[in-house]
Symmetry: C3
Subunit: 311 residues, 3 copies
Amino acid sequence: MKLTGTFLDEISHDIPHQNWGIKEWDTDFQHMKRMGIDTVILIRCGYKNWLTYPSEVLQQEEGAYEPPVDLVRLFLDLSEKHGMAFYFGLYDSGKYWWAQGDFQREVALNLRVIDEVWERYGSSPVFKGWYICQEVSRKTAGIIDLYRQLGLHCKKVSGGLPTLISPYIDGQKAIMASEAELTKTDAVSLQEHEAEWDEIFAGIREAVDIVAFQDGHVDYHQLADYFAVNKRLADRHGLRCWTNAESFDRDMPIKFLPIKWEKLRLKLEAARAAGLEKAITFEFSHFMSPQSAYPQAGHLYNRYQEYRNEH
Amino acid sequence: MKLTGTFLDEISHDIPHQNWGIKEWDTDFQHMKRMGIDTVILIRCGYKNWLTYPSEVLQQEEGAYEPPVDLVRLFLDLSEKHGMAFYFGLYDSGKYWWAQGDFQREVALNLRVIDEVWERYGSSPVFKGWYICQEVSRKTAGIIDLYRQLGLHCKKVSGGLPTLISPYIDGQKAIMASEAELTKTDAVSLQEHEAEWDEIFAGIREAVDIVAFQDGHVDYHQLADYFAVNKRLADRHGLRCWTNAESFDRDMPIKFLPIKWEKLRLKLEAARAAGLEKAITFEFSHFMSPQSAYPQAGHLYNRYQEYRNEH
Amino acid sequence: MKLTGTFLDEISHDIPHQNWGIKEWDTDFQHMKRMGIDTVILIRCGYKNWLTYPSEVLQQEEGAYEPPVDLVRLFLDLSEKHGMAFYFGLYDSGKYWWAQGDFQREVALNLRVIDEVWERYGSSPVFKGWYICQEVSRKTAGIIDLYRQLGLHCKKVSGGLPTLISPYIDGQKAIMASEAELTKTDAVSLQEHEAEWDEIFAGIREAVDIVAFQDGHVDYHQLADYFAVNKRLADRHGLRCWTNAESFDRDMPIKFLPIKWEKLRLKLEAARAAGLEKAITFEFSHFMSPQSAYPQAGHLYNRYQEYRNEH
């Protein structure tokens, strides 16, 4: 199972920024290319007040800050230069879609963001898809409606470009990065997971094309079962099933550094055994890049390349 | 708003040590110089049992350990070599000035440290000021008296050299580094902040010359209001008002790595808009230096230098 | 007091993996050699489901994963190439020897691991000892029996090769890495420590040859007392007394980065003053190696080498 896609973690939620300029990003796309990456996915175009592009909608409506550079333009240009497909991640308010939030406002803002973005960047030949960035693990109130409305609008304005979501499993490692603990005891059961996602998939079909579950929240010996359930549900409801192979380590007290190669290999092999279509990772630039601020990432890149050449 | 000063975080309270020798420190002062730094401020000369210089007072009174090198001498020499002003940070016992401590002992020890230090190092032409290192955010019991006694004594022995304090705002990010959380809910209000610091400034005038509030404990959209209050209060009581622009990121679970450039830029621009006199940072060597153990720091240096050249 | 031994932290419990290949390990042994290391100690051959060598016992009994490379073979080969003695660390289930576990299963598994390992690797001329990896600080139920059974069996199969344990002191810094705090208040007293370890040592004599207490869980000013007690107890019961000088810093919120050189020096000098026989460290490759992912480690190496050349 080869990694052929990566998220671009700009702007970051819980992973410290590398402060790269244009030159470093260009170099990073070269490194990705050499590792076989053909798809890059902007994790989100904005988070709270921080933006990747100078959105008028979000500056006016949310008081978001004007960014120093237009990263969406930069990533589109680099994708074109290096021959990659670009997926655009929507806006995450960090509040409206939470329990006490104004859920419909998250949708309304994003509908306008989708229009704005498509008008500005839709002519790029490498704009190939959308990423609906609100990540959930359970049938959170309103999430079906949000995925449905946003997915349909993305597809409508863009002539049917594919839409992607990347949920996580509410497993024993589903812990906030700002919590000290590494595991919890009230994890979901496989049966609950299957029942809830059966209902969610039923509600979002035709609005969401691809699901790529994050693979880091359950124990390694549980992966086969969860991958099988996820694939079966996706097939049943006509979604394509990718895996989001996390390249950082959830088992360590420093949250987060690159994963041990053996663990990533084990997850990729479990995904292959389950017949998943494509593997993307969160994410290359911090956790697998030879120029990452974490030198373990460059060694992980080397280990992965050895594996890739052998298989 | 240009950064023209930095703290020297020796000895460190909560940031891991880089284990530099004389050669690395010399190189670092060169890097600082190239970035426009003209002032270096020793964060503290001792903390608990750890010392930056072989203080007889603190070894006898507190059982402090004799340090492997005399960093005060080294930093004075490098300041002279590279044309910088050096501010000397006082001793922090880490206990006496806390709630249950023997507050007056903190003062008494430091009065003797001031005498000892001025006798040893006062002849250096680059010894240009004092930093009173007990950092508070509120009108903690005894703090006015401590600032007053120590500030007056510093000025008296040194012929009136300026004294600096760097308080923090008791904002939503005022969290201990050893706590897992990133924010709290019981933050101070702008009105409480103004009332308490009005009283503190009234009590320390003529003993403290410069105040440089840390800029990292409130949300970015609150900076304008807090900077305006701090400036107004400083003007009212005859203090000079600098900003201490933190170059590490308080929003991330790893405590602490270099800040995202966009955030630092935003804070510097808010300080300029408020008319603050000078910007110093905590601190260059871990978070902005090209030779930092955190490679993000070198990229931050590059982003800052681009900004500096443009403005 | 010179460092002449190091643990090899494969596989790691709480320190992120560096993803080194054969080339990096070879280079690391060269770095160790240049620093005077003559002994390497595999911290454990397996932890939970993760293995350093393809153990049939642990794959069958515990469902452990087959590792990508045989690290035991690699480390034996590199030890031979670079002239070092290799100590083999036993298996840590991470559960059976805890309070609610099936203590005797930990022993039974390890008895079979010892046989398997000796049969496979016992002919290596650099296989020089055993490390019993269950680390305790108190007279935990069953620990004497575990040390005794495992130590005797190690010695029996291998013609009496020495056995090593590395307990910790239940001091104020005895905190789990996954906890946010840095200190606790319910530390052991020196008297309790002495009484409990007197009893443990009495129970394990002739089964365990060497004890190397970890030196990082008490405050620096307590080291002299604890080292003296440990040495006296070891002498009384016929154990050799080494020190395990931790080269990472327990006083910082990032758990863990390389220690400040001054602290390591202080600990080594306290060990020398107490007359301890040999100093090993946990561990070279993350915290003292010039090629560590943490650049502070390379600077620590340089500081240590300067010290070593002076003494």
